[in-house]
């Protein structure tokens, strides 16, 4: 198990290198550059800027310099926000996004898992129908609808919570965005949990465990739960990475200073280094989350361990 984890972590490095290489060139091959604007800069200023950021050199040299910087942990300066480095921007935004994402994740799991379980155990009953309907609606509504609606209801009408904004250490500002972000995830978790449990309670080994007179709750907790969690874990691997790197929509609706906007802003502004920094962050997190999902899967089901060895 440990050896397997070590090998998988080592395997992340070449994947990241490919990711960096491909996105480095694709971003730069896209038409336009960081200093193309509606009102063109004077040629002299532009040349100076390009000289400053090394954009006048051949691509391959720029690539080499970027890699050298990375090796020292330097993500380079932002081309657009001239006072900031990319690392600095991420360091400012990531704590907000991380807090928001992990609260949303916790919320989704704490509500989604029990809902899915209840629905599966009372299959065909009123609760099951209610959970399925809730999941369908939550998945269908985009967060640019639920977000403003929640802000309207709890912020403007009821005055319970702030409509938008962010103050570190003030959980009041966290609640509405976290709920908005958690809703679709929670719905997916509930559906997958329900489906997983329904498959497992019909399995031969669960009937076998019941035939041993172990009691309903012990059979559920010790025999059925772990295998039923497998679909949820597989889904959460990639989902967690996008949760904690922030969501453009939620951060825009609630005016949060997270990293979610950087990827889109960076791409639109041709802020090469910022895009690269976000791609790197997102890629690393995705790979790590998938690794964690695979390790949890192996813990849930010992049959998987042999296959990876």
């Amino acid at each position: 198990m440990l050896g397997y984890a070590a090998r998988r972590i080592a395997g992340i490095v070449p994947v990241l290198l490919i990711l960096i290489t491909v996105s480095f060139f694709v971003v730069r091959l896209a038409p336009g550059g960081p200093f193309d604007q509606a009102r063109p800069l004077p040629p002299r200023t532009r040349a100076e800027l390009e000289q400053l950021y090394g954009l006048n050199r051949p691509l391959i040299v720029q690539y080499w310099h970027y890699l050298q910087g990375l090796a020292h942990g330097d993500l380079g300066p932002s081309f657009k926000m001239h006072d900031d480095t990319v690392a600095g921007l991420i360091a400012q935004g990531l704590p907000v996004s991380l807090t928001l994402g992990s609260s949303a994740l916790a919320l989704a799991l704490l509500i989604g898992v029990p809902l899915g379980l209840w629905a599966a155990l009372g299959r065909g009953g009123a609760l099951d129908h209610a959970v399925c309907a809730f999941a369908a609606v939550s998945l269908a509504l985009p967060s640019f609808v639920t977000g403003p609606f929640l802000a309207l209801a709890f912020g403007l009408w009821l005055h319970w919570l702030p409509v938008a904004g962010w103050q570190a250490g003030e959980p009041r500002y966290l609640i509405l965005p976290a709920v908005t972000l958690a809703l679709p995830v929670c719905a997916s978790v509930a559906r997958l949990m329900r489906g997983g449990m329904l498959d497992v309670i019909e399995a031969s080994f669960v009937r076998s465990a019941r035939a041993r007179g172990l009691g309903r709750w012990r059979v559920l907790r010790h025999h059925a739960l772990r295998p039923a969690l497998v679909p949820v874990v597989s889904y959460l691997g990639p989902a967690v990475a996008s949760l904690v790197t922030g969501s453009l929509v939620v951060e825009t609706v609630f005016e949060l200073p997270g990293t979610g906007r950087y990827l889109v802003q960076g791409a639109l502004n041709r802020d090469y280094t910022l895009v690269m920094g976000m791609v790197l962050l997102y890629g690393t997190l995705t790979l790590l989350c998938n690794l964690a999902a695979d390790l949890i899967h192996a813990w849930l089901d010992p049959r998987v361990r042999g296959e990876h060895a």
Partner: protein, 645 residues
Amino acid sequence: MSSIRPPVEPVALPASRAAAGAATVLAVEDLSVAFRGAEGLAPAVEGLSFTVQRGECLGIVGESGAGKTQAFLAALGLLASPAHVTGRVRLDGQELLGLPERALDRIRGARVGLVFQDPMASLTPHLRIGDQLAEPLRRHLGMGAREARGRALQLLERVRLADAARRMRQYPHELSGGMRQRVMIAIALACDPQLLILDEPTSALDVTLQAQILNLLAEFKRERGVALITHDFGVVAGLADQVAVMRAGRLIEQGSTAEVLKAPREPYTRQLLGRDDSRQAASPPGSGAGLGALLPVTLPASRPRVSECSPAHPCPTPRLALSGVGVSFPVARGWRRQALRALDGIDLTLGAGEALGVVGESGCGKSTLTRAALYLIRPAAGEVLWMGRSPADLPGGELRRLRRELQIVFQDPLASLDPHLTVQRLVAEPLEIHRPQLDASGRLEEVCGMLERVGLDRSLLTRRPHELSGGQCQRVGIARAMILKPRVLVCDEPLSALDAPTRAQVLALLAELRREQGTSLLFVSHDLSSVQRLCDRVLVLYLGRMAELAPAQALFAAPHHPYTRELLAAIAVADPDIQPARLAQVRLGEPPSPLELPQGCAFRTRCPQASSLCAERAPAWEQTAEDRWAACHHLRGRADDMLLK
């Protein structure tokens, strides 16, 4: 953990029975089970009554869907879907129907032990063997963790699981099917129940494993009542004292095992026994006529002569020939990669119209052999020849054209048919590929003709596989394979997913198609009796190596290789006079891992005749009689044959 409870609640026996000395463990009276479906109640069991006495085994026999399992699941409140259950079920005088779940939980596992059919799926995959065994001990007997572990180890030793201490720490998937079934039995016996319910305990296992498990179960029936659910009268003959035959939810015949098996009253029972009135076994059992006479052999009326082709007199061009074929698969073991040699040095020929049977335990390479013969797996060594031509040397188009001459029927009829396609499309597809000049009406005509030949009605043309029964699916599989009139038909366990009566029908169909079209059959099966009925010659495989090759009748009458002898001895015979004795003689243990083959002869670790010579070098493949070959240092058969001459 649950609180400590007395293991068994004292229950007063009805005075009359206690006085008679016969203790009724389970009394079922007028049990009916009906499932609530879309169209009202669908009855699964109707008016079932029987009793199980202490120290006695009741065999409940019937086809799948007869309601055997449902009756017991209903009695114990284990039915999967909501059902309407009426009647009376008394365990030691205590009524079970209508008991609340908590009360049933004190009975299930404590006073009633259950063993289910599929040992692969009946153990929880993420819990260690030792923990699963300790669970009922701790719950029902209130044992502490240490005590339960000690008791679990004893139980594993009692069911004779080799290396029990190590097995305690393993997960179910690390054990073979036979070992898992031993674990299931150990769990069922853990709290020393009064009643043991065995639901098809051996049908997922090989003959050799079946015999071992039955042997083990025979030991445990003395102190308790046993209900044995099965479709196999051979299993009943070895274990049961009483038999109840069920059909479509009703009990149709009941009596002592000897009565029912020797003189069945109902035609249906005779059919299940494989005895039509016309073909009653001629020679009395135990007359020394050899095993062949004991098995219900039903040969096709005009059986083609054993082909002239044999290793001794090879045809100029056999339809299929394998010479020195070896196949290996890479396997990861921890950090190392290792080659698993699935097949090694296989030589065989299949002549025109010949049927060659391939038998052996699971994991012996039977299926791999079919894949290698069809060149679906490229052999690592040796050569495959189709009609004298090597598929390895053929260009792609030519290879595809030649492939139509070799078709395959798979083990699982449902899984091997595309669920989206109708029967018509499924059977017509080979024509679309190999005879594109045929127009739609011509294809339909061919398809209908073929369906008629395999005994399927035209009305099934628009059905999809899940709307068919297992037997019908397998007929579609055969129709699909035979529609191109191939010269070779490879059958990979075509019967193992089917019921006994369906099995006989499909077997008869194969024999007929072979006779009509002169198709050569390569028939792979672990069911020795169907091989005996269908095949001219039989190849016995042991761990990917050839053990014996002989004409079928000669092999079954007098096996030469000790492995063949053990295999034949393990067959369950539906004769209560001799089957218990046969069971008691089964010696074969678990096969070694194919990754850790013994030096010298691969069979020596399980061979009753093994000597130091067997450890030194592998035996050569040598001729033992006319048309007979075997690989063994101690061929007893050779001497017998010489005496006969």
